[in-house]
Subunit: 444 residues, 2 copies
């Protein structure tokens, strides 16, 4: 007898128990469904790629975090750490076959050997959608609509999509000859929520050549009005005479006009010129989405527009826009906000195995319920009914069906509602129609 | 400008283009749905585990094929090569919390550094379901029902589930003092289809101590009758007086009685005493499923009963039964049998962007169609209509909607059926009801 190996997982990696996993599957399926309603189609790419592909961008942090090794053929390989680099490689390789605009979603696992800490995992899922090969503002608008529909489909009502356009601040800085200071300004603005206007102003003054008047204007720029239209009117003079800045404001106003026309109110989608989302990737529209009841968990859906997706892998310029759903954050939020009760059962009804002699009857009844769309499990052993009902309860089933020799002789069965404890006697005819009706009523 | 990195994937790994991926998603979703109708719930486990966990069983072939390396913390880790070892580790760790019977499905990627060859991949998906913690024959019966419902839900009508029970042959061999020859006998029987009875008999005679009469009986044992009941009657005397063998035949007869009672005919589920499914893992019921129109691709859904899932990780005995769906084989079969036409579109309708001035109208119309359950994409650029229709056609959409200034002024739009080329003029009222009706009619 060999020694027992201690069962354990690696630090930063997770087992998902059924309750959590059902919620994850529901969330992912809902997201996929929304993506498809807008014509996005799924793709997948390998978990393992050549290291030179994944490490192509050469960020030190990325390279350090990437799981990498030499494979059986002594190739230097890495495990994907995001879905963006694989998308870039994929588009460079297949775009002629795919055609543009290419609208894809990709739900897949990524790995990062980060220092393990609370809420940080070394293995997690990303859930991205992107539109590649068009610079049309209509795709920016559609991205906002997808995020909006997604949040609604997931059951959220109190959320805010914050939208900005990188061209606004970049145009403003260019207009004032401060383009070289843009990283420093962005870094300072990013702290607005945490440290407040005065300290942000101090930081900009210390780290850039901006004059006091310019710093004042920057603070005006990032100060949002309750009304999207007022914000746009305020931005116009600040970027006047700079083409890039004017374009940014125009794009924001087109996006706001369209979402307004579709009845999305500004309490759900608002311009926020203070959001930046990283320093160098996005070039136009950017999005963040916060839950009004849980702002502290950060953005649950973010993204934006970029000019050139795949420059590492092709000379073909591929502009695009997309966003990524924060699965782990949304799941945590749904748990905290208690939105998850009804999503945690694989099925709805347990047929108790009261007497093995009637196995075929139980199986036939279950098959009929399934054919009527009611997910039904038959307990596999003729254990005590109390134990079987406890099992049904633990799995979150709404009802249990109990029947033995007497019931089958009289063509009737017992339905027990597991939440209220009520019991009902229902006739069991060949088509099980009355049972289906009663179960539907009880599960409502 | 850095040099372009050649976009490519590793040998044995695949990119999935949208058409293929939609089919995969449909297949996986259908399988999950069927598993759930029987009360199976999803789980997930990490892709990376301690090497000592995955390599615990110590098969040389497995260890050689496993992707393994030292992680950032110098731990020896491996990428999972199947879902069975992780399930064993998971059950050993969590079974007290999960309770039994524990019914789970697991759809996840596994990796094997095999020599790359046609139809063999180094990365593929497994799609398993298992019932852990019960020895009840009812779970064997349920496994057969799940496989049957699965095949039907996937659209297959001409398939055969072959069922056997390892106890039958093992009991027979024990009865004749040939237990030590069981591996040799299984190896020979496994070649029955390829080399025929005579050569199988020769091989058994050469590799075991079986007498000519015993070899004759073995060949009778593995020779199946058209009728399941006849097969069972034939088996009874062959295993008579051996407890294990009699138990095996009894289990087969219980399984056949139940599936017959549910109306599953023997052309769909038949006893086949010649199937073995590996030499040492399964201990009772075993299953294989072949497509009658494509027998050469092998079994598309296989599994069986085992006595002790997790002996490497716990002293608790965990019997179970399960099966695994062969995703890649099924997908290949569906392509070959041309069963896939309608599954390859992310959406159904394209709203052409005829005139950017009417963007809000297009967006509103699309939102109304989506609200009515019709998946609808709006083209993002005001390109030539021909180009937009070509795009819709390539994505497999059924219809396109075209409307410009005239149409909106007269409150009517054009619906183009992309398959027949027919065009229809339909009134566009605020609720878009007539458009929805016409689209539904055309998409039927």
């Amino acid at each position: 007898m060999p020694e027992i190996i201690k069962p354990r997982t690696l630090s930063g990696f997770r087992d998902f128990l059924p309750e959590t996993m059902m919620l994850r599957e529901w969330l992912i399926d809902t997201a996929k469904q929304v993506y498809r309603t807008f014509g996005f189609a799924p793709i997948d790419t390998p978990a393992l790629e050549y290291f030179e592909i994944l490490g192509g961008k050469g960020s030190e942090e990325t390279d350090r975090q990437m799981y990498q090794f030499r494979d059986h053929g002594d190739r230097h390989v890495g495990m994907r750490f995001d879905l963006t680099v694989p998308l870039a490689r994929y588009c460079a390789q297949h775009i002629n076959e795919l055609g543009t605009p290419f609208k894809r979603y990709h739900v897949a696992t990524v790995w990062r050997g980060e220092r393990a800490q609370a809420g940080r995992y070394r293995e997690f899922m990303q859930c991205d959608f992107d539109t590649i090969g068009t610079t049309s503002i209509n795709s920016d608008i559609e991205t906002a609509l997808v995020i909006h529909d997604l949040m609604r489909a997931l059951g959220f009502d109190r959320f805010k999509i914050r939208v900005n356009n990188r061209k606004v601040l970049n145009g403003f800085l260019a207009k004032h000859g401060l383009t070289d200071s843009s990283v420093a300004v962005l870094r300072a603005i990013d702290k607005l929520d945490k440290i407040g206007k005065l300290l942000v102003a101090d930081e900009i003054k210390q780290t850039t050549t901006a004059s006091d008047a310019q710093v004042e204007q920057i603070l005006t720029l990032v100060d949002n009005d309750e009304s999207n239209r007022n914000t746009i009117e305020k931005l116009k003079p600040l970027v006047a005479d700079n083409e890039l800045g004017e374009q940014g404001v125009h794009e924001l106003s087109q996006l706001i006009a369209a979402t307004e026309a579709l009845g999305i109110h500004e309490d759900k989608l608002a311009i926020d010129v203070s959001i930046a989302r990283g320093l160098d990737y996005y070039t136009g529209t950017i999005f963040e989405t916060t839950l009004l009841d849980l702002p502290s968990i950060g953005s649950v859906c973010s993204g934006g527009r970029y000019d050139n997706l795949a420059e590492l892998f092709t000379k073909q310029q591929l502009p695009g826009i997309g966003a990524s759903l924060g699965l782990d954050r949304l799941l945590a939020a749904m748990e905290t906000l208690e939105m998850v009760q009804s999503i945690r059962s694989p099925a709805q009804v347990l047929v108790a195995l009261f007497d093995q002699a009637y196995l075929h009857d139980y199986l036939r009844l279950a098959a009929k319920l399934r054919a009527a769309g009611i997910f039904t499990e038959v307990y596999p052993e003729a254990k005590k009914i109390g134990q079987q009902l406890k099992y049904a309860d633990r799995k979150g089933y709404a009802c249990a069906i109990v029947a033995g020799a007497d019931e089958f002789a009289q063509r009737k069965i017992q339905i027990k509602h597991l939440v209220t404890g009520e019991q009902f006697q229902v006739p069991y005819e060949t088509d099980a129609a009355e049972i289906v009706t009663k179960l539907r009523e009880l599960m409502d």
